[in-house]
Symmetry: C2
Subunit: 309 residues, 2 copies
């Protein structure tokens, strides 16, 4: 086994009331990557298609996470990485996370799985930090574990896999505008009212309970972010309209994906998710802003092997 081709999925982080800790994994959007053992020691990025990203290992998210793992190995060979990027960098659906987990997942498979999924996340955090300038795992965890994940803590790294109903679909619109991560961060207050924090954890606890009990209605009622969305939604044109129309069209709830600009919604069943797609397409079609829309089942498997040689 010298070569592996994988699908590294896009992910939605934050999920309204789960700011900074919750995420879920998508099925129909993601990168492909090929990882290959090589006689040449070290990590080498040999191909990048789709978007213009750096080939230099230490400047590439997939390279940095691969190096973090490689430093723990004592092997006389190296790895080549090919990246076939579909997730646009900066879209807010975990583009850098997909790259960061892809390399380490692939290497781990080729090595016979010496590391568990939490350890893989730990390596990938190093790659993610290159892109986002801080160590976080709310996109990495769902990409590696699949489904919904709760990052209970970063240090030590503790990740919980939260079950979810079978028939849950996401509809995601990516307006092609740029939101700088630094701006999305700077807009948040350092302090928040205790009363709002209480509302947020009531909603978050309810969401975790709703996911456990397959209570679609409660999932919708819990998807309220009173802390972050009021600030960050201002950076996304027509956010309120998209949210309103999504819910009117049958979505359980909607919110900002990651730090934006993508907006996610969750729906019970594919039909609702497709209706939501049409409704939010209508909102943005009236504007000058170009956009992509993705509809995806929640991916409970996470990152997966497409081919082994």
């Amino acid at each position: 086994m010298n070569e592996i081709k994988i699908f590294s999925p896009a992910t939605v982080a934050n999920v309204s009331c789960g700011f900074d800790v919750l995420g879920f994994c998508l099925d129909s959007v993601g990168d492909n990557m090929v990882i290959r053992k090589s006689g040449k020691k070290g990590i080498h990025i040999t191909k990048i298609e789709g978007f213009d990203l750096p080939y230099e290992t230490v400047s590439n998210v997939a390279g940095v996470s691969a190096l973090a793992m490689y430093d723990k190995l004592d092997v006389d060979f190296g790895f080549e990485i090919e990246i076939y990027k579909n997730i646009k960098p900066g879209s807010g659906i975990g583009s850098s996370a997909a790259s960061a987990v892809g390399s380490v997942f692939g290497m781990n498979e080729l090595l016979g799985r010496p590391f568990n999924r939490t350890q893989l996340t730990q390596f990938a955090i190093k790659g993610e930090a290159l892109a986002s300038k801080c160590e976080h795992a709310d996109n990495l965890a769902p990409a590696i574990f699949g489904g919904f994940t709760l990052v209970k803590s970063i240090s030590p790294l503790e990740i919980l896999n939260i079950p979810s109903p079978n028939n849950l679909y996401a509809t995601i619109i990516h307006p092609q505008i740029e939101i700088k991560t630094s701006e999305a961060r700077a807009i948040l207050p350092n302090e928040i009212p205790l009363s709002k924090a209480i509302t947020q954890w009531a909603n978050f606890g309810s969401l975790i309970h709703a996911l456990h009990t397959n209570d679609y209605e409660l999932i919708g009622n819990s998807l309220n972010d009173v802390v972050v969305e009021p600030y960050r939604s201002k950076l996304i044109p027509h956010f309120d309209d998209v949210k309103t129309e999504a819910i009117k069209a049958g979505a359980l709830g909607a919110g900002i994906s990651g730090s934006g600009p993508s907006i996610f919604s969750l729906s019970k069943g594919l039909v609702n998710a497709m209706n939501v797609k049409e409704a939010i397409k209508n909102v943005y079609s009236k504007t000058e802003i170009t956009f992509d829309i993705h509809v995806s089942k929640i991916n409970n498997e996470g990152i997966k092997i497409l081919n082994l040689k």
Copy 2:
């Protein structure tokens, strides 16, 4: 059916990271109450034993909640209430909540259950507000629903019953000191750091997940309150020692019960809970402060009927 005798349980509110929204119900501590149909219209408190509480209906918590329900009825009779109080007022284990739910639960049974549990909680909120000067349900909900409850919202009132492992026990120490509710409130900041709020909802989400999955270890790891406990624990002498010794003796975790002064801990199994009892008894035995200690299984049934006539 003209008379009912009930057991109205003590409860623990807040439960560390679940500040203001989570609570659980105790089994071995509670008040007894008798509710009786009477030819005399209105609500009349005819007996109070245990503690010195007002007989005047509008000044008594059980009376006020009973009146809230009575106002919704169109009946040509009234109710008499007898209160046999075991839960010390001001102990922090839901003394006023037990009184508030007892009257309305008993009346509802005598009337053939015209109201559901959420509606009973709504009436009881009026009584609780007399004692605590604000409308909250974090002790009422577990007393009425049993087990662990999450008050998702007060208006509209939404209560979720959270399942919990079978073998979960609470050990509660009540140091006989007075903490004024007003003081316990005034000590809290109006604003908290966003970073601490995030830690709190990560822990709270983890606790809900842990209760669903019978993960005792995770229950313990999630019982961390980084928002309120650092302030309020200063009002409780030897709080840190009690917490440390409880955990050393085998408790999963410990924290302030309600707004104190009681301190609760949770343990897997009765043996651990009894060991915790000895350990925290040792802490307070060295002081001049008198105290009670209760050990109780989590009461999944909530308030219950002892006798019907």
